[in-house]
Symmetry: C2
Subunit: 169 residues, 2 copies
DNA sequence: TTAGCTGCAAAACGTTTGCTTCCCG
DNA sequence: CGGGAAGCAAACGTTTTGCAGCTAA
């Protein structure tokens, strides 16, 4: 992790459509057709889709999946440490593969877009704070909520989510 | 906010049982019996109770409240900026008064206990990162998940919450 | 062969809401 | 008095689950 605070959203995309499947096999998971399908959708995602979005993408490739299986699978993969669950508000959990390094999120409160960034300085600070409090850091998350800075003109209005602060995949 | 990373959980407790009610009146809210009751429970809380816990505490003082009112009230107070909602995992929202300064949370993953701390250095860093990404920081949250450091002997086992990573108020 | 996965529909969960009655201001 | 608040129960949207049948290993 570098000191530079760099964005890498659709930038360095996921080149390998079998990344996740490989991870599943590594952890000894039985690979069924639908798991392979969901794994592929996850491998190709460069965003933070929720279950419904994953289901939609999976259906587009093969209609023989049910949303219950998507739920069961993301849960399984989360338990196996392959996926990370996020709650960015909006009431639904959103997922992301854990295999592209630890990073943080900046949520654009106007558009709901999530920007990823990493920051070594912050990493160190978190570690230091935990130590000072007498803890060994196991995990941490930093979420910034911001508005695009001045330069731009006005920004388009936003639709209100059911409740909470949310966005949409 | 000072540079020192200091804990202040049950430490500087809430001395004034009418703090929240006063804030409500300041913002022009109509004060009913149940709002006063809920405000009092909130004023006395030194933790991060969820709605059910608030309801339980309120009931103990006066049985003439319904959980629907608790829900409506926390939502109202959140909109008014008097309360802050947190999602520490566990599937239910947890609340905390906003009137004791911006701070962060360290969640002890063994016990589920939440420790509050503030850190000016981190505050500045968050601001800087947002600026670097071209955003004006509107809000941010930092959550550390840790395990009590070595010195202690073994730590007691944990009960598993329904799902997610959660804890309990 | 069989442990374990899938689909379906129903249940569970936290939370919101429609409606009527009640009360604060 | 009038507008907003409370209580109840029903509705909601997301997620989990029981069960019967199917499938990877």
């Amino acid at each position: 992790m570098d000191t530079r605070t760099d964005t890498h959203q659709p930038a360095d995309a996921k080149p390998d459509p079998m990344r996740i499947e490989r991870l599943c096999i590594e952890r000894g998971l039985k690979m069924t057709g639908q798991r392979r399908l969901i794994a592929r959708v996850l491998s190709e995602a460069v965003d933070h889709p929720d279950v419904e979005e994953l289901y939609r993408r999976a259906l587009a490739l093969d209609s023989r999946v049910s949303i219950a299986t998507v739920y069961r699978t993301v849960r399984l993969l989360e338990e196996k440490g392959i996926l990370e669950r996020h709650d960015f508000g909006g009431g639904r959990a959103r997922y992301e593969a854990t295999d592209h390094g630890h990073h943080y999120h900046l949520i654009d409160i106007e558009t709901g877009k999530v920007i990823e960034f990493s920051d070594a300085q912050h990493e160190a600070l978190a570690e230091a704070i935990a130590a000072r409090l007498g803890f060994r850091l196991v995990g941490h998350r930093l979420e910034l909520f911001g508005r695009r800075a001045a330069p731009e003109a006005a920004t388009p209005p936003r639709r209100a989510p059911k409740r909470r602060s949310g966005e949409g995949a």
